[in-house]
Amino acid sequence: MNAPVQPPKLPGAANKLKSTRMAGKLVNEYWEMVWRAKEEGKLVCWYEGSSINPFLEAADIVWVHGEAYSAMLAARHQEGPAQAAAEERGYSRELCSYARTHLGCAVNNQRHRNGSDSAFADVPADEDISAKLPPPDMIISAYAYCSTGQQWDEMTSRLFGKKIPIFNVSIPWIWASGKDAGYCRGKEWEETSVYVARQLEEMVKFIEERTGKPYPWDRLRELMRNVKRASELRLEAMDMCTARPAPATLFDWSVSIAPINQLPCTTDIVDYFTKVRDEVAERVRTGEGAVPKEKYRLFFDGIMNWNKLGWLAEKFAKYDAAVVAGRYTHMAFWQEPDLIDANDPVMGMGQNYLICPNNHSSPILIDLVMGLCEKYQVDGIVFHATRTCRAFTNPMHLIAETAHSRLGLQTSMFEGDVADESFYKDELLNTRVEAMLEAIDARRLATA
């Protein structure tokens, strides 16, 4: 056997992309814009799940994506006040921590702005940004697969006194049971695409009612041209990570979720992904790896543990493990730009909402994951069993079983969460990942 897999000790092992640093600036500017919304007399829409933000941005409505705000708080380690507020209000720790954190923001918002809960009414501390979200003027619920999504929106509505108009877009689960069914094909796919697109047209009417203005379709087309191009660049850069050593890892792509998923759809996101693509290409040309001594290539199945993003990037790098792809990063976020006709974008937008990675029946989902594992030539899969998102965790054992039987891959599962750090225990991950890497070592030597 090789030298034993040793725990991470040295700092700075991950050679992260430099170009992604711009994401932090763009994210900060975006949230500053959100926080100023009411001062500037803007309408505000809260939504979760599907990236309907271009529809809102085109209509000059400020958009607040619940998961994005919760993830941002977690990444900054500022999620505590919001989660505490939600729990005080009675929301269980077992509830999706994205939802719990965001609901906590709503609770704090009410307390601080209205003094509705006199026991807690107070001016928010400068460092507590959980109360800074502008209250919604409308809620749009457009969630694929997640059963919590609609309840989350309903709970938000209640927290604001049930006075907020809600529009619901139903995004059906893709059963793929027909003989002609497959990824983005078949009768069911065609029918559900039309069904979602029709609702999006209705959603636009809802938006028109809120703004009192005709919907600016030209502006939406302009924004979607940027989204489509940004998506193409992102996927082009991701594809280059089949190189050995991989020039970028899942952690770089996690940092890049905000620019593709919720930041303003201006040319800034095209510029961002152009720079990312160029840096990745240069790394491929020079043979520079995101993990300097790449020894293992892994697939990460699970939503990112936002409290631990940098921590995990360093941990895997110190194991000489390049996490080259993942279900969350590589199967979501405008991942099918070819479906988008920028001149007539609604259908393609709806179709991208439909192919959320959780929204496929298991055979399609598993084939997609196996395809990525083969494409990126991984040695194993790490499963992040998200404690408060069982939707994402449900098929993991099926994926693991197939990865083992079909591709002979080692797999390992650890428990954590998207935004609640208390569910993550470092030693549990260490032992499980190290055991998997030891097994990979043994297998390599046996077959050498």
Binding site: H397, H404, T411, E415, L428, A435, A439, R443, L445, A446
Partner: protein, 317 residues
């Protein structure tokens, strides 16, 4: 020339140590139970095993650690995870094993090993203590009976009760409720062990049920746990004489391979017929006490002839 190696399993609730000679003979072993990842326990286990062997730490050519506290030991030359070490130790104890069930203090794990003794797949419990030794400890306390008496009492169960919760804390509440309803201690304990078996079956299914199955870890000494797991699996369990030391033994065997290679490089003459796994089988250190009939299990290889590929790989160190 140093003629011995040591393996230490610095576990969450117990510390185990094993000393082997250069031919892989079990010279001494010890188990110390003193609390969570206890330095005192590991010190005691090491002192005890050295005393039993009549040796000192300076006599050890290699010391390899495993378990929760594996990185905390200054005396260890290397450390490996429990998965690698338990697989190695269990296969050495019972060469025909194709599946290892290990229920320790804080972890329960199932490890599928292939015909070469390599880890094919493994599964571990999540962060919850359900299905572990800790689960039994908590419920023994709730029932006000010594831990070591739980298994025998549970075997006296006459009716099937159900503990639905896997969480130790909630299960404790259920146990108290059942007792308050007048159910006997044996019947409630039967349900406790059944819940462990259910949890274990879930882990087994994650790596694939295949025999022969060996059970290691302290819980393997609990007759009721073995009974209910066998019943849940529908297969017999092979039980080593000293199931707690599988991890420490595996660590010692890894250390032994490493040390023998180093001695070989240094020009020392070693026993050319040495095969770790065969040696362990010949010693009958563990096989004699095995329960069940290995031959009746699915496709067992011939005992004593399994040259573990892990062993081969270790020699490549």
């Amino acid at each position: 020339m140093k003629k011995h190696v040591m393996g230490i399993d610095f576990g969450s609730t117990t510390a185990k140590a094993v000393i082997l000679d250069l031919n892989g003979n079990l010279v001494a072993w010890s188990v110390a139970h003193m609390g969570a990842v206890s330095n005192a326990a590991v010190d005691q286990a090491v002192a005890e095993v050295l005393a039993k062997a009549g040796l000192t730490q300076a006599d050890m050519g290699r010391t390899v650690s495993t378990g929760y506290g594996r990185r905390m030991l200054d005396i260890a030359d290397k450390n490996f995870t429990e998965i690698t070490c338990h697989a190695r130790g269990a296969v050495a104890m019972v060469p025909e094993a194709r599946l290892v069930i290990d229920i320790g203090g804080q972890d329960s794990k199932t490890i599928a090993v292939d015909s070469n003794g390599l880890v094919a797949q493994f599964a571990m419990n999540d962060r919850c203590a359900a299905g572990t030794g800790k689960f039994l400890e908590v419920l023994a306390r709730a029932m006000e009976i010594p831990l070591e008496d739980m298994g025998e009492l549970a075997m006296e169960a006459t009716q099937e009760l159900k503990i639905s919760s896997m969480c130790a804390t909630f299960a404790e509440t259920e146990v108290i409720s059942l007792r308050a309803e007048g159910y006997s201690k044996p019947d409630v304990l039967g349900a406790v062990h059944q819940s462990i078996a259910t949890r274990t079956l879930g882990l087994v299914n994650r790596v694939g049920k295949k025999g022969p199955v060996v059970m290691t870890g302290g819980v393997a000494r609990n007759r009721a746990a073995v009974h209910f797991i066998e019943k849940a699996l529908g297969m017999p369990l092979l039980l080593p004489d000293i199931p707690q030391i599988a991890g420490a033994l595996g660590a010692a065997l890894i250390g032994l391979d490493d040390w023998r290679i180093e001695l070989g490089k240094a020009g020392e003459t070693l026993d050319e017929d040495y095969h770790v796994d065969a040696q362990m089988t010949l010693d009958k250190a563990c096989v004699t006490g095995c329960k069940g009939d290995p031959a009746a299990a699915a496709n067992p290889p011939k005992p004593g002839k399994l040259q573990s590929a892990v062993g081969t790989i270790q020699k490549e160190l």
